[in-house]
Symmetry: C2
Subunit: 347 residues, 2 copies
Amino acid sequence: MRRRQETPGLVPGVLAEYGALTRAAVERYLPAGEPRRYLYDLVTDYPRRGGKAMRPSLCLATACAFGARPEEALFAAALIELLHNATLIHDDIEDESEMRRGRPVLHHLHGVPLALNAGNSLALLSLRPLLEGQGQLGPGLLLRILKETVRTTRELAEGQALELGWRRDNVVGLGDADYFEMVLKKTGWLGMIFPTLAGALVGTRDPQLPLAPFVRFGFFFGAAFQIRDDVLNLVADGRYGKERDGDLWEGKRTLILIHLLGQAAPAERERIAAFLGQPRAARREADVRWLRRQIDRYGSLDYALGMAGGLAGAARHEYSQIYGGLNDGRDKRFVLELITWSLLRDA
Amino acid sequence: MRRRQETPGLVPGVLAEYGALTRAAVERYLPAGEPRRYLYDLVTDYPRRGGKAMRPSLCLATACAFGARPEEALFAAALIELLHNATLIHDDIEDESEMRRGRPVLHHLHGVPLALNAGNSLALLSLRPLLEGQGQLGPGLLLRILKETVRTTRELAEGQALELGWRRDNVVGLGDADYFEMVLKKTGWLGMIFPTLAGALVGTRDPQLPLAPFVRFGFFFGAAFQIRDDVLNLVADGRYGKERDGDLWEGKRTLILIHLLGQAAPAERERIAAFLGQPRAARREADVRWLRRQIDRYGSLDYALGMAGGLAGAARHEYSQIYGGLNDGRDKRFVLELITWSLLRDA
């Protein structure tokens, strides 16, 4: 077990400030009407459990770094947070997860049918902040953000399809490039690319702003962030909010597991493949513990952390391409520090 | 078993013509890229199984009745058909259905996780026809149609939540009004209200067109249509495409079942409630047959069909409010004949 590391600097304060702004904005879009018991109690559950608010903070900080006020980008922050929570509901069903932000997953509380339906409701609700009262954006900017939202959900579904398909067919011959493609779509797009692009669109008011620099930045940052997340899943203490070793129980194709499969001796590799080929319910605690020990034995955690460090360096380079020419200030520095913070965080 | 009834008139020809137009348009929006096996093969499955194309035909005919050409409303017809197919994927999971358009449901072919994810992908894909190349609509009309799309998905989720919640909690004390509220949201909104409103918006080019007349028309028409669908489920021959008596196996709260529960003697009512309280897998063929006999004994089918006839009459009245002042022509007559056709159809 690793010890808690210090994460000094701007990040915790800005996350707290922008997180509070976002939560208040999200509340305004959560429906209060009927049917409450079968729908809106479920729809509002995950958004109210709270989270790090990293995605909306990245959006608000980028908008401000490009010269806007936080309130001008708040609709985009709310959109991002609502969409993120909608994907969590469906991902938890698809991944057969058990815990989310320290509580049982929604479909364990209400059953799969009602949880699935609530996820749909929340996903479409995420468009409300964009469609209601954003007249001052102008139609060009509004439609561009809408198109990027649709693009983001397309990437999300593609990334999730890859990960689920690999598990369903028990694919064990994956390389790092497969992992990075999946993570770009599943983590990078909604986590980093869309928030920074949306923030920059609000800040610049330029509907023609090119997408490519944000894809590069978000790819490196997102991959570094996700690898840290995968590591935390295996070393986390109580503050993590998901089940410890959940990724192993779920058979998730993390960079760590891909490294282990590439390094393990043939007999071990076969045993891992047999473990991964079982339905979740058939997996045994002893096998999960054995798998966890092989990860340490083959240095797969260290490999993954080393890779994350390199990716963070590339993300800092891409950061300078987007933010380098802007006036210095708290928001600009926050984005840079967030890259380092995401590698050091312990929850 | 009822015999096939003749459905003469305009309807089959117009459905064939507008259905072919819509299918060709839908094809243009279905993705051809990767990941094919884990995503886009699934996304394209239901849309290519074909259907009656009633919803998109209603949209195209309404647009033409209001003076547009079919091509001008084709984006809306494609949107409706894609969204309809997306909801079918998720509904089949939530309802534990087995057959769809004569073939096994998607989640039986690929598993729940990949099917759920494909449904998400298809739902967001449905916005593509609206967002790509509809510049000639103008931003006001485009945003209005987008808002009505989001409203429609909200109503769909509310209707589905009611129906699923009633089943999960084995609610047996429902009245006709509960059924009509659920059907307005679940069937009327995407099936009739949105298609006719979208068609009229394209035809009139008036972003301020009031919603209310379309809600009234779609409510009566949708309820009549859904009751016929519920009846067909219990009397259908091979052309129906879903499993015979599937609604009884699924424990669906149809008007027929609600009538039976209201009419049955206390001991029978108790037996029905016990049957409905079981998980689907525990239900036995003999019980389904017994339930089916009670429906005949208490005249619940005839009650439902009588109600459908009255609703269709009300729909014809509301039709005259919307279409009455328009120039006579094939498209205007088609919408009127569709109401009658939907009561006589046998598939």
